[in-house]
């Protein structure tokens, strides 16, 4: 080991007098190119034959399938070419390879759900330099490397409705726990932050958030984590799982265990996956927006940008087919609308 140590010491000596640290480079990192900024022309016609590619976090996820399914419908409506690619593991590095491939294939729009807000950035900016419009959905990338973000609902709205449902199910007081996806999933964390703010309010003083567990959006892991929560917290009243994988796994565990009826499950879930547990009484209510509309709106937003109707600046308006007119918000955010609550009474009206 003599040699590496010598080298390391030499390098240390070389750099002892000041190097590049995180604080010394703060804010210096190159800001993104501002797209091919031109002026928006709201009356420009929507181009036909646009090549629109969807790159979700990973394939083989029922929720994602519904989202991109809505995207396909929209792309067909505007006579574009739809393409779906993606990794089988939810890793950022494999997403980068796919973005590079899409650049080579000269797509017009990339609709992406980022597995890591930063890791995909350099590639997305390369895409934008090549004239490709980048729309994010589900999980945003850094603001500096995409043109628009389709937000399924405002972060505030989701956080509030999660706490409201938990409070109703707990009868206003008791222990609650959160079963999230991965600890650095952007969307999950911002909802959890809002939940914490809400729980700090006096009307929720009797609700106690005892633990945030992470099931990594992996069915088996979520299942085991739900199991662990119930063992560690015997007085738990509600598990709030703001992810479709987590809520389904937790419900399945509880429905077949001795905890059924004692612990309530709520959060964000797919009606088709949850129907069984709503019918057998494990789950009283949960919420979600219509995921198909997210993919649908993303296609229209991308097409509007590619046609020059909008640039992604705040206040611009565009039409999104059957969903009607949308306005671009601050930082290029486009909000889909409020979530729907599902209960035993209305669940049969939904099929996704």
């Amino acid at each position: 080991m003599r040699k590496p140590i010598t080298v390391a010491v030499a390098l240390l000596a070389l750099t002892a007098c000041g190097g590049t640290t995180k604080s010394s480079t703060e804010g210096q990192n190159t800001p993104a190119p501002q797209g091919t900024a031109g002026k928006a022309d709201p009356n420009a016609p929507l181009k036909e034959g646009l090549k629109i590619a969807y790159l979700p976090k990973q394939l083989n996820n029922p929720y994602t399938d519904v989202e991109v399914g809505g995207g396909k419908v929209a792309v067909d409506e505007i006579k574009g070419t739809y393409k779906l690619v993606g990794p089988n593991d939810a890793s950022a590095s494999s997403q980068v390879s796919y973005i590079n491939t899409l650049i080579q294939q000269q797509q017009d729009v990339i609709v992406v759900a980022a597995n890591d807000p930063n890791a995909v950035c350099p590639s997305l900016n390369q895409a934008r330099k090549a004239g490709i419009k980048v729309v994010t959905f589900d999980s945003d990338a850094s603001k500096t490397c995409r043109d628009a973000f389709i937000n399924q609902a405002t972060t505030q709205g989701i956080g509030e409705s999660l706490v409201k449902m938990a409070s109703e199910l707990a009868g206003g007081s008791g222990e609650i726990a959160v079963l999230s996806a991965t600890p650095n999933a952007t969307n999950q964390n911002s909802w959890i932050e809002v939940m914490k703010t809400e729980l700090a309010k006096p009307e929720n003083a009797k609700l106690k958030l005892v633990k945030i567990a992470y099931g990594n959006d992996d069915d088996q892991k979520s299942f085991t984590e739900a199991q662990g929560l119930l063992q560690s917290y015997p007085n738990l009243k509600v598990i709030v799982s703001p992810t479709t994988v987590g809520i389904a796994a937790a419900s399945r565990y509880v429905s077949a265990s001795s905890y059924k009826g004692k612990v309530a499950i709520t959060g964000l879930g797919l009606p088709n996956q949850m129907r069984q547990y709503v019918k057998d009484g494990t789950v009283k209510k949960f919420a979600l927006w219509n995921p198909a509309d997210i993919g649908y709106l993303a296609a229209y937003a991308g097409a509007a940008m590619s046609s020059g109707q909008i640039t992604g600046a705040e206040g611009e308006k565009f039409k999104a087919g059957k969903l009607g007119e949308y306005t671009v918000g601050a930082d290029g955010e486009i909000v889909l609308g409020p979530p729907t609550e599902f209960t035993a009474d209305n669940i049969d009206k939904f099929n996704f």
Binding site: M1, P4, L11, L12, T20, K22, A92, S97, T182, P183
Partner: protein, 322 residues
């Protein structure tokens, strides 16, 4: 080892090396001719960046496998190096200090493998499966599930950038230099001859004055250092330090090395073949992806190639003998 035997062995290795290089060149030509934009400069850059970690780690892995051992912990070493890099960067350490620390860390992790294998005499397969879990676990302990970003643009731009206005990526320099170093060591120095001798028969090598334990120990250290370097480059390329970086890469590396004609039993192999193996896997992956062939097909192709690379020569040998 009779002279005749040596000669036929050399002959067979040369044959396989020529074959794999020929196949690789053929694949490259077909891909360039039939796949749109496979041959563009930008795509070349993407291709090199994608195969960078496998190419680097495969170099010392070749030497390790030629001695008859294996190192399955490389991807976890890469991940731990990346995690430590993120941790130190968050702790506001200068990057010029962090990078050598990560290389040193790689050396230490490699030395731990080397210690278990050579000093305690434990089977390397079991040891490195153990350290595969251990190092990856430590990476998660260090960084948890969080990601550290915002590495200095000077460094990240260099890793993703190209030489001047040519389409040649900067990191290709790193690959070429290290490949040359390992190639010369394996094929033109006494160390290389010792590596082959130990792989062919440890007892005989010992009688020839070689100290197999010491040799293997240093090969594991080299493997660790290169994996640590791959972790640094990986982190800079994606500008994201994460504990799960490079997970599962060890299988791709072993696949590339074996595809390159190195015998898993040791004693046989050559570096040009390994490099061809890496390029073959990487460009097939790239070309298939550009042709919208799914990831699934890639899995099947990798697996079949891997088995075929050993089965093919075996069957050919059998046919020749009968």
């Amino acid at each position: 080892m009779s002279a005749e035997l040596t000669q036929t062995r050399v002959g067979r290795i040369a044959n396989w090396n020529v074959a794999i290089i020929a196949i690789t060149v053929l694949v490259l030509i077909i891909a360039a001719a039939s796949v749109d934009s496979f041959g563009t400069g930008q795509n070349f850059g993407f291709l090199v960046l994608d195969l960078l970690p496998i190419a680097l780690v495969a170099l010392p892995m070749t030497l390790v496998i030629v001695t008859g051992e294996i190192d399955l912990s490389v991807a976890s070493t890469l991940g731990l190096s990346s995690a430590v890099m993120g941790y130190l960067w968050n702790a506001n350490q200068p990057i010029e200090t962090i990078i050598p620390i990560c290389l040193l860390l790689g050396a230490v992790l490699g030395a731990v493998n080397g210690f278990f294998v050579t000093v305690l005499g434990l089977p390397s397969l079991a040891v490195t499966i153990g350290t595969l879990a251990l190092y990856r676990g430590l990476a998660f302990v260090v960084l948890g599930d969080s990601a550290v970003a915002d590495f200095p643009a000077v460094y990240t731009d260099w890793v993703t950038g190209t030489i001047g206005s040519t389409p040649i990526p900067n990191v290709l320099i790193v690959i070429v230099i290290l490949a040359a170093v390992f190639g010369v060591i394996l094929h033109a120095t006494p160390i290389g001859r010792a590596v082959f001798a130990v792989g062919a028969g440890e007892q005989a090598a010992r009688f020839a004055g070689i100290r197999p334990g010491r040799l293997k120990f240093w090969l594991y250290v080299a493997s660790g250092v290169i994996a640590g370097l791959a972790g640094v480059l990986w982190t800079l390329r994606y500008s994201s330090a994460r504990a799960d970086n490079g997970a599962g890469l060890e299988l791709a590396v072993v696949a590339a090395v074996l595809l390159g004609g190195v015998s898993i039993f040791g004693g046989k192999g050559a570096l040009p073949g390994v490099i061809a193996g890496v390029v073959l896997l990487g460009s097939l992956q790239n070309a298939l992806r550009l042709s919208d062939v799914s990831n699934e097909a890639l899995n099947v192709v990798t697996g079949v190639l891997l088995i075929a690379s050993v089965l093919g020569p075996n069957l050919a040998g059998k046919l020749r003998r009968t």
